[in-house]
Symmetry: C2
Subunit: 339 residues, 2 copies
Amino acid sequence: MPVKNQKWIYNSTFSGAPKPSDFKFVEDQLPEVGENEVHFKAVAISVDPYMRVLGSVIPPGGVMFGAQVAKVVKSRNPKWKVGDAAVGYFGWQTNWVGVPEDIQSPFGGIEEPYEVPQVVSNVTHALGAAGLTGNSAYFGMMELCCPKPGETVVVSGAAGAVGSLAGQIAKIQGARVIGFAGSDAKVDWLVSECGFDKAFNYKKISVVEALKTAAPKGVDCYFDNVGGQMTADVISCMNSYGRVAVCGSIANYNADRSKPVLVPDYHLNVIIKQIKMEGFLAQRWLGPKWIQGIHQLAEWINQGKIVPRETVTNGFLNIPSAFIAMLKGDNIGKAVVTV
Amino acid sequence: MPVKNQKWIYNSTFSGAPKPSDFKFVEDQLPEVGENEVHFKAVAISVDPYMRVLGSVIPPGGVMFGAQVAKVVKSRNPKWKVGDAAVGYFGWQTNWVGVPEDIQSPFGGIEEPYEVPQVVSNVTHALGAAGLTGNSAYFGMMELCCPKPGETVVVSGAAGAVGSLAGQIAKIQGARVIGFAGSDAKVDWLVSECGFDKAFNYKKISVVEALKTAAPKGVDCYFDNVGGQMTADVISCMNSYGRVAVCGSIANYNADRSKPVLVPDYHLNVIIKQIKMEGFLAQRWLGPKWIQGIHQLAEWINQGKIVPRETVTNGFLNIPSAFIAMLKGDNIGKAVVTV
């Protein structure tokens, strides 16, 4: 009996804040499973800020891109057996049939699914704190910021999926961690549960004012999810040889890029303070290092050293609204949709 | 008989383009040479863009800061003997008496003078292509840009003292080099004498347009002397894992910083292309590496592999006007004043 498949089509290029009509819901029949093919059934689907960014670059028309945790329900491929749980770029659809070795990453190139490691305690964590999100925080902090014990680390977008983990990872390294987020509830959560030393609602206090008292010895590392004014302000408070991991640019994701978007200049501070800034996509570390990262994160979760908070939405039909709410900052921690 | 000393006092904090009245000419008597002290007599004095930058940070009042080549005319210090030529931060004055081990660098900390290495063929080169300027180009290119043979390197402010050397050093590394400068005469000089593959007058062609044809495979390294629009434009043409050495910010040196200076945002490109940007002051490499850099540069000059062009102004009284002209871009290559 043919299987019915539900899909969200990426229908029109995002302009400003994404809206429901940018997506179109369709149903069709799944094909038979051919030689070397696997049938994966969605368990949980990730909604992430990078989708807003790539949405202005990737042409619309196909199934909306994105990662899932999915279970194998049929396999004619020697690498996969029924019941395996995989993380892969199956997109916003309830089922996927094809050759796993041929899957295109939205970041370019082939990216084969990988099995959820046994150490991951909860399947949604494989998309969050012990998955793509966790590794973004892990590699950005460990490979680019490289905080030393006693140094001061600032995280912006700190209550977001990546930011909250980045700060907790810096704490594990022995750094003093200061977070900026957009609501009092988020700020409270960062201090009371994530162990940040200080957190501020940037809507209520200027970043420079906050750092004058919270970082009297200056800022050594900045995990940057935001860009714009926030980046200029944090850099103005950095010490010589400060390191900036540039992970996100949420201040200007929805900016109209048909004309130049203007931001405060921090170029001169980069020179005088000899600051190193590096943009990154976690995919850079795919391969054996990737799985090492996930094992380390899963171990920290299991030891209670990091809090893998998730905002879970139920129901495949709710993916677009979960995505739009996440971009508005309605979530705390990782936003994920269970199917 | 007491020696008369001439000095230029740094008289008022620069606001906008520096003007002659920001400096005050005074004469006084040199003190006697005390124990451990040396009397250095100025031979050539450097005028550099960094002076504009530090001028907004350092309080006015004293002798204007800056490096000289100077000869020892009297010494009561075992390290120095009459006739030695030194490079040191003696400032804008014709004579200096003091303990060389105590000299403050305008960049902070103590910076002892060093003897002009024997391999340097011309004393003014010790301030330029085989000195502070040369090492800025050398370390920025070799340690931060790290061009590989066949890669494409862009240099802005390319006909300036540092830029023209940075491009020539990249050529020696086997890279393809594209320069941007502000006049046709500078552009001609970069191609005909400095061996740049392409050079453009940015006042006549947009940077993005120029790079579309001149860098069809994209830009791998950017030696950035300029900032602002130029930086955003070059970064938009860069390849993944591009490297930016941030050396100068001449587009906005004279900007009124009492309000935020706005520039086009390139933050998102830094992420998507995973670009590494690093600001630097050449002083980072002081010590044995510094002298190695100068020896390498002197060797390249002596082999005719780099063209150490200088714009030389004669006369101590002309330092302020030489400095102001250099900031306007009137010079080609290193601006220096002989005393």
